[in-house]
Structures are given as structure tokens and as C-alpha cells.
Symmetry: D2
Subunit: 343 residues, 4 copies
């Protein structure tokens, strides 16, 4: 019996429509480095989806790369980036931000989220400190949305954080590696246009939302750093065949495919939650997106391990394990059904 996989949202290839578009355009010669008509078209469609006709869009290959390039390009040398302790840039990017010379300044993570009150206090204290000139200046706030715990910022929360950022002259950057799943969550109060209105930079994740690779970095306010392309190149992040990214995002933003695949993953996640609840599983936290965290006893873990692929999240004590089950654009109803049987 084949294993079923809830291991991650990047375990399969790409949405068939993307494959098809790659095949159709394959022999057509285009210029490199994102100067091709597919990238141009994809940029237009993204601008429209964001409701920002003047937004600047640059396609990068992956998430860590997008974080490092954007953060390093927007910060001054004397600045660092504020993030939740559990933020991806602080934990799982092998020090990519620090490798560009910038400190990650941490705030407590509340199921992956920062608290606007704590952000505000931190900044107030910083600017009251006599020795602030000997410290790293907070130049940007980094959020992941959905967070690494599958949780979401509400519109009110994002607005409030944005206001604090403006008050202190900081940029607000949103890591949307899984943005689609946030936007399509049943509990989402944020639209793409809201995000584009509130944030100074964000990216629309492709890799985890049906593309082979690719993240669309958006500077919504005519604020793309000067010579951004050169800095992308300097980071080794400029794809020669930029069309590979353009074609994918063009497909994803044609007829709402991006939202459709995201909605599918959310539906699968909701079914999964129902099954897990039905089977009496203990949820480690309430996630309204495509990542579900449950607490298992060792015996349960062992049983599941035989039939299902998932990630081990944490071991709160020797007898228990928190695991993560993830749905995606390619999760099938049958996968969830089989999980029910297994449980």
C-alpha cells in the first residue's frame, strides 16, 4: 500500500495548467532576465489582482532568497529587521539575513504572530534608550502571513502594525510564501488589495502554491529600491530564463487559478480537520489554513508513520510529539479519506 503524503505543500510538481503553458511557449525565443512578454503579462495581472496599477513586481526563485534580497535592499547598514522569534528568517534560513549584514531583532511569537502592543513597547523603549546609537536600529517589520504555525493576522492587526511602522519610519514587509492559503482561509479578513495597501513590500508565494518555483515580490507604492535588479543579480537571484517564472505566474493569475488552487487546499484542510476531530485528535493549535498541528502519543505516532508522511514539529515531552499535516493544491479527497481509515 502506497504511503499518503501530508508532508508539505511542495512535495509534488506543478499545476497542470502551468505545465501546459510551459509546453506551449517552449520554443518561442524571448529575452532573458525577466524582460520577456510572459513576465510583463504576469506583472500586469498581479498589479490588477492587487488593485495597484503602479505596483512594481519582480519574480524571484524561492522564499529565503526573496526574504534576503528584499530585506537587504530595503534596510540601511545601521538597521535590522524586527520579527517574531519563530519567524522563518530567524530560525530556518540558515542565517541568510545575517549573512547580508543585518540583525534580526526578535519579539515574542504568539503562535507565530507578533503582537502590536509588544512591537510598540519595543520601539518606544528603543527610542528612549540613551545608548540607542550603539544599538541596531529597527528599520523594518517582517511578518509571515500565514505564519509558520498556519495562523493569520486579521485586517485590524495588520492595519495596527502598519500604523506603528509608519509612525516610526519603518518598512512593513510580509512574507507570503503561503499567501494563497491565507487569502482563501475561511477566517481571512484580508484581501490581496488590503495587503498591497498596508504593506511596503510583500511576496506572493508560488513554490508552495502550485508553481514549480517562484515568488512574486511586490512593491506596491512605487518604492522598489533603486537598481533592485542589480541587487537581485548580486544575490545570485536573477534567473537567466526569467520566462520560467513569468509563465508560471501568468498562468496562476489567469482566471483566478492562484485563488482556485489555494481554495482547494483550504477545503482539503477543512476536511482534514473534521476527520482529525472526529477521531479525537488533540489539536496543538487552531490553524485556519493548510497546516494542521496535532499532538500524538508515541504509540499513535508509530502507527501513523507506517502509512502517512508528515513532519515532526516538536517534542514537548518524551511521550508526545507534535506533528504537522499539510494540504496543498494537489491534495486529493481520497488522501483525506484514507487518512480517516488509517486513524
Amino acid at each position: 500500500m502506497q504511503m499518503i503524503s501530508f508532508e508539505n505543500d511542495y512535495t509534488t510538481g506543478t499545476h497542470p495548467k502551468i505545465l501546459q503553458r510551459l509546453a506551449e511557449s517552449n520554443l518561442e525565443p524571448t529575452s532573458g532576465y525577466g524582460m520577456d512578454p510572459y513576465c510583463a503579462s504576469a506583472r500586469d495581472k498581479i498589479r490588477e489582482a492587487c488593485g495597484r496599477p503602479g505596483a512594481e513586481v519582480q519574480f524571484l526563485v524561492g522564499g529565503t532568497q526573496a526574504n534576503a534580497v528584499v530585506i537587504a535592499s530595503m534596510l540601511h547598514n545601521y538597521e535590522g529587521v524586527v520579527a517574531a522569534e519563530t519567524g522563518h528568517i530567524n530560525v530556518h534560513e540558515a542565517g541568510a539575513i545575517e549573512a547580508t549584514g543585518h540583525k534580526v531583532l526578535t519579539l515574542p511569537g504568539h503562535m507565530g504572530k507578533i503582537d502590536v502592543g509588544e512591537l510598540s513597547s519595543f520601539l518606544q523603549k528603543f527610542y528612549q534608550d540613551d545608548s540607542q546609537e550603539h544599538m541596531v536600529f529597527p528599520g523594518m517589520v517582517y511578518l509571515s502571513h500565514p505564519t509558520e504555525y498556519g495562523t493569520l493576522y486579521s485586517k485590524e492587526e495588520l492595519e495596527a502594525i502598519g500604523e506603528v511602522c509608519r509612525e516610526y519610519g519603518m518598512a512593513l514587509f510580509l512574507d507570503g510564501a503561503r499567501l494563497g492559503y491565507g487569502l482563501m482561509s475561511l477566517e481571512s479578513s484580508l484581501s490581496l488589495a488590503d495587503i498591497a495597501r498596508i504593506c511596503d513590500a510583500f511576496y506572493i508565494g508560488g513554490t508552495k502554491v502550485g508553481a514549480l518555483c517562484g515568488e512574486a515580490v511586490v512593491f506596491p507604492k512605487n518604492n522598489m529600491p533603486k537598481h533592485f535588479l542589480t541587487m537581485v543579480k548580486q544575490h545570485g537571484a536573477l534567473l537567466a530564463k526569467g520566462r520560467l517564472l513569468g509563465i508560471q505566474f501568468d498562468a496562476l493569475f489567469t482566471d483566478g487559478l492562484y485563488f482556485e488552487v489555494s481554495r482547494h487546499a483550504i477545503e482539503m484542510a477543512e476536511k482534514l480537520k473534521a476527520v482529525l476531530k472526529e477521531k479525537g485528535c488533540t489539536f496543538y493549535l487552531e490553524s485556519p489554513t493548510n497546516q494542521q498541528f496535532i499532538l500524538l502519543e508515541n504509540s499513535q505516532l508509530e502507527r501513523l508513520n507506517k502509512h502517512v508522511k508528515f513532519s515532526v514539529w516538536e517534542k514537548p515531552d518524551p511521550g508526545h510529539t507534535i506533528i504537522r499535516l499539510v494540504t496543498s493544491w494537489s491534495t486529493k479527497v481520497e488522501d483525506v479519506e484514507r487518512l480517516r481509515e488509517i486513524l
Copy 2:
């Protein structure tokens, strides 16, 4: 009438066999970050092609990235990398090497190549200098093969450079962004196995040789830097869906596809050279690979511009321009024929 393109070797998509393999494997779930069976298989095939069963292979996305990651991972803080003045890392990578903190130490470029005698003198002088501790130590030699001018190192030349490197305790790194075209050149005296025997690190270019993206970095001597994967991640260069690279290189190294597509490009380049000679064009230099450089008068340039896409290389004087015409896996005989007609 449609333009014909000799603009570059990354203007079209990918070899149909690669597209096919991407489609076939599309729904199969695999682990991420290069831990999938396609990457494993591709590694094996590359090891075999190199004649180095113990070689370590890591797939990266692009050339600048591969250069920066390999160079920064192999050098000590006090070291720089020696390259031809015209080397890609010194000119067209937006300072990607320096951005990792390392100096590029330049030698004169002779149609893209460094001279082993000049390398030797440079090193001798360096180690005789009383103030050498105030200088950047030469820790590595970087070669591109083929060079940016389409020229090739002979086996004797590469052996000699390798010997000098060993004498001075330096690594020898070969940028093979267009390696296939070098190996299949009619004038090549170097096999993949020779390169793997002589160099300490090199990469087999995919992007410019028929893949959508991807470079296969090879450490042939059990000398991959410790925790290389972590440093790849730190540079934002670790692809989540590593399979995208694995599948492509697996296809390229199945039944000699990599060599076949390269040979095709060389055949097209030879035809192109014949046409250019026939038409009395002045060659700026003798290139035995897929890049051809010719000197045009302004009137010729204008005429060509209407029908053909190419790159402008240099303007030696106001009345003349050196242009570059490039063939690739996807160049068709008809393209060359049409060029003859246009000329």
C-alpha cells in the same frame, strides 16, 4: 517576416525530453531540498559521466549563484579568487563575489583565458612580497570554460594551471555554464573526466545547455565544504522543489542527452561560421564553440538588426561594432539558412 534569434543560448524553453519527464513525474510526491530520488539518480549519472564514483554533486539554480556559493564556501576570510579581468565574476555578476566579502584578484585576459605563466609570476611575486600579510591571499583560481569569448583551455593548459594551484595550495574552480559546448567543440582536448580529475570544483551548466534552469556543482575529490547545504540555504540558493533540478539533470544525463544537445549547437555554430566566412564577415576572434563574434560596419549592423536578434559586444570605434551570434540546442538549420539569405 519573423525575426530569427541568435541572441543567446537561453532564449528558448527546454529540451522536449525534459518537459516530458517533468510531466510524467508531476504528481508524484517527493521530499524537498534535493532529497528526492530524481536528484539521487541525476547525481549517480553525473558521477558516472565524470568517472568519479565518489564525487559530490549539488544542484543550484543559476550561474552567478553557483559561482558565489562555491567561491564563498571554499575560501577563507583572508583569501580572494584569481580570475581573468574579463571573467564573468569580475564583470557581469554585479559584484556577487565581493558581496560575500571576497576580492577578485585579476590577471590579464587573453581572449577570455588566463595565461599559466602570468599566473605563476603573480603568485611568485605575491609570496616574495614583504607586505603580503597586508594583502588578499590568492586562495583559488577561477576559470570559465568555454570562456566568455567562446574560447577553450587545452588539456595541457588546464593541467599546467592545476599544477600551479596545487603548488600554491589553491583550489581550482571551473565555471562550466556552457561546459557542454566546450566538451563537444571540434577543438576540445578536454573530457569531462579530465576536468573532474584536474579541478577541485566545477559546474556543469544546465541553463544554457537545454534546461529551464540549473547548474550541477561537482566536488570531484570528496572535498565538498562541510555543511555545504547549509551554506547553499544561507545564500538563498536551496530550491524547495529540488526535484525540478534533479529531473532536468537526470534527463540530460540519460542516454547522453547533454552531449547530444551540445553537439547540435556546435554543428549549428560550424554552419554559422561557414556562412559568415562565405559572406566575407570579419571575425573578431576564432571561437571553436557556440558563440561567434564578428565585426560589422554600421551599415551592416543596421541591416542585420531588422531581421536578426543578437548581442552587441563592444564598439571598438564609432564606425564599427562587434556583435555576438550564439547557437544553442534549439537552433535550427533553417535559422542559419535564413541568416545566409539575409546576409
Copy 3:
């Protein structure tokens, strides 16, 4: 009435014996960059004081510089440095460590100290983590001794931390910007020889212990990083007139001057503590070294402000302030007496 200053331990010039030695040697020509006989002599005396005849000693100008140069020179690219959250490198060095590309990995600070149990748990958890290759490897432990809170590690604590470091293949680095005050503390259980035996690198602070400037970095175990001088130069940290540092440390390690000036500061601190206790002041923490922290009500703060210079440490609530009073080699008994009168 002139203000008295307990503001810091770097408010005055230098010990008169150092001035005298500078004057005596002034016109004698010597080679630069630390290659002079004064540096040589100072190195010998420091080796002897450490009980390590083979120790390597390099003089740097200041503390942040010493931290950045040592840490960047000893870590691999994939490594970070573990420190207390309150550690100087994490708070008050303007991101100097991150500017060299390395992350500071924080542990809770217990009045400035890290806890060996927490260190051990952190490392154990790190090496059990499946995604450790996506994380920054802990390559070094950084301690300040005395800490930023004036507290001290005991011999047992330092031994235990050293053991954990060896177990995990990490370097142990001790920031001794105020080392003299730690060694001469009435509660010290650590000698210079102990520190040299247990640590892989440390520095003996001069700037805050009677010199004009200068920190003596010691690699006690024949483990100075290769081409360390070149890396010092690369950081802009190589003094042309290295003799300025050599002469000062030669004076400080002649006839035990370093220990004498440190002991004096401790005696003054003990007197200060007695006065503060006598006057009913609330101590924020128990410090056995030359920094004393007391909690004042706003009215007390105001009164003191008129006659005494000190640092404001923290405002725990709107009505109270924690201030820091610091003694040094140049504190006079009369200063403490006058403080008693003022209080």
C-alpha cells in the same frame, strides 16, 4: 562644586606609569603593526601571567573590534555564536557581529550570565532537530566576564561551560573587557591561568582597566586562526603604531600593575557598596565587581543628578530608575566620601 563621576571606567586618561613609559620610549624608532620590541615584551609578560608559554597574543584597539574580529575569524560561514540575550555583542555593538555575516544565537540572561543547563538543552535540541541543516550551527559560546551586570562566573560554572563546548566541538570565547575587576573581585574563584586553561580565546581588557585603549586577545592553545594578522587588517583593526598598545600592556603587566589597578577599583567599589548600604539604598542586584546597580525613586535621582555623574540603566516603572555607579583605577577615596555626604 565640581561633579564627581561614577559614570564609567573609561572616563579618565591612563595610569601615570603608562604615560611615563610612552614618554620615555617616544623618540625611539620601531617597526609598525605590532612587530616592535614593546609588543614582544608585553606578549611575553602576558603569556607568563596566563601560565601559558605557548599562548599567542594580539593587541587590538577596542572591545567591539576584538569581539568582531575574534568571532568572525573563528567561526565557519555556517556557524553563529551563542550568547546571553543581554550580552554586549547582542545589544550594544550596533550589530557588529551580524555585519560580519554571523548570527548571535541567544540564551536567557541571568543577571548577565548564561546557565550551563540551558546551554546544554539548547544544543541537545539543536542536534535532535530534523531541520538543523536549515539552521545556524552553534559554533562558539561567548561569555562576558565580568558580565554587563558586574556578575561573575565561578570556576565550576566556567569549567562546566567549557566541557559542554568541547562536547559539541564549539569554541569558548570570553570577553574580558573588565577582566581585571573580575580577577580581583573578593568573590572571584577564577585566576587568569584558569581562564587560559578553560577558554579557547579571551581578551584582557585595557581600555576599561587603566589604559588609553587596547585589548590583549589571547589564544592560549596554539589555536590562533591562520593569517589572523591579515584578518585583523581586513577589519581595519591593525594599528600602524602598534607600539602604542605594546607599551601600555608592557607597563600593565610589569610588577603586577594590571592587578594593582584592578584591586584598587574593587576596594573603591566595596567602600561604595558600604556607603550605599549605610544610606539605605536598594540594590538592584548583588555585584561583586566595580559596577554597582541601585534603584532610585525619582526624587532621589534628581538630587543625585546635581552632584554625581552616573549611567541610567533602566526604568522599571515611571516612578523609579535603576542607575549604575562604576569605580575604576582612578576613583579616589574622596570621591566615595563625597558621595556619602551627598546622600
Copy 4:
């Protein structure tokens, strides 16, 4: 018989007036980090000497440090600094500029100087290049004055370079490690006020002109980079006892001491030149400042080596050596006389 030294201009201690001022101020407590009254007074005097009442002045410890901090603080990430191939930052600073992530873009050196015509052509070519976005943007011109070869820019030359910089939006930075010797040269056509008017940043060297250490960085046009102090700290370049630098520069700019000691060195250099000419020595180049370069046969070299300390500059062929003889504030007439006897 004792050796006489023409080895360098940093072989002795400091001018007696500086020693005296250090002694006089020694026990006076002051705030740290350059916030003391001596630094304030020195800044005022330097502003006046430059004829720029609004100039911003920051004291750093050494030359490499000053170069790295200023260059890294003024450049954008996508920019490099243009310098002569022989420029100190390109050769003898161990890669300090590249360690901050910036490329040094080289122009030919003409006895240490760049040529304004070559600069202009380089920039023109750069901005005509189609692939300029893949290259490092020239963001600043770095000059050393006097150069590493003791040569000087004329007023006309500096004006012309300044004009080109303004035309291309680049900063002009002048490394004045030996500025005093340039200003007092018999052939100087540039005053301190000229330099302050033409350049965007420069520093007045102390280390090589009579101080123990210290360089005064001047931003003459109200253009000090924002939070420069924090970046100084981040580079490990902020001296705790900033007074050490303030006192020295205050002394040097009181009653024209800086110019007096420089003039003395120039007088000694002129005497030295006369002696060398009298003895028939071959000058390698015409230097109007305190560094003299002569070409010796091996037998002459051997003889000199017994009595005189100097630097070996270069070996043009196995039978000859170019040596450098340097005078300074502390060179005595007798030293030159003794050299005549030796020759």
C-alpha cells in the same frame, strides 16, 4: 653604531606637545565615544582650518578603518568604488573594502594617480553598456593624496575629477593619510580649503603626521551619512576613550602644529633629495613629498642595509631594487647628515 631609520613615517611615538596635552588632561573625567570637550574643540579647529564652519568631523583610529567605514557608509549596495590599481584600498588593506561587500573598480595608476580622461572614458563606457545592470555601479572615486608613490594631484586635476564625479552623481573621497605632507609640499597647489570644497569626504591623517593614532574624517558639505556613529560602532571603530583622538587633533590644530610638523618633514625630504642627488642616486620617480624612491644596485643595497632602515618597494629585475626612504615630523637633520656619510 645605531641604525638610522627612514623606514616609515610611523616609526616613532608622537609630537611632544601631544604627549604634554595627554599628561595635562589625564585625570579629568570626560564622557566617552567622542562626546568630550577635547573632541568638540578639535572639531571646531578643523572646521576652521578647512574654512567650512558646517563641516562634520568624526575621529577614527586608523587609515584602513577610515577607508572602510567611509566607503561602506557612503555607497549603496549596488555600487563600488573607483580607484587607481595601485591605490591603498586595492592593494594593501587585505580586502577591507570587499569585506564590506563592495567592489574596488580599478583604473590604471600613473605613479599612483588616476587620470581624469581615463576616468571619464570609463564612466562613459559604463553608462553606454547594455548590460550595465549586471555590473557594479561606480558610486565613488577614491584618491589618495599624496598617493602611495608620494605624488600629488594639482588643483586643476582635483577640480576636473570633482566635476566628473558631480556629472555622474558620484562621491569624491580623498584618503589623506599623509595629507599634511601634501599640503606642505613645495609643489602643492591645493589648500585644505580647496580639498574641503572639492571633495565630499576626506580625512586628515594623524597617525603618519605626528599623532600616536587617529584620522579626522571630514564631511564638508553637511553630508555625513545618517547614523554615521552607529556605523562606526558597527565596524568596531568607535573608541571608548574618544578623548585620546580629540586631544591629539586639538593639539595638532592649535597654533598650526599639524602644518609645522608636516613642513619639517618636507624640509627633511628636500635635504634628503639633495643628498641623494649629490651622491648620484637614481630616482625611480619624482616625489614632491616625504617619500623618496630610489633605484639601487644589489651591492649598494647591501651596504645601505647595514646602517639604514628603509622599505623595499619593488624588484624591477634580479640585479636592482627600488627602495623607499621616508621622512617625518621626527626626522632629524643629523639623520640626513649621517646618511650622506654612509653613502
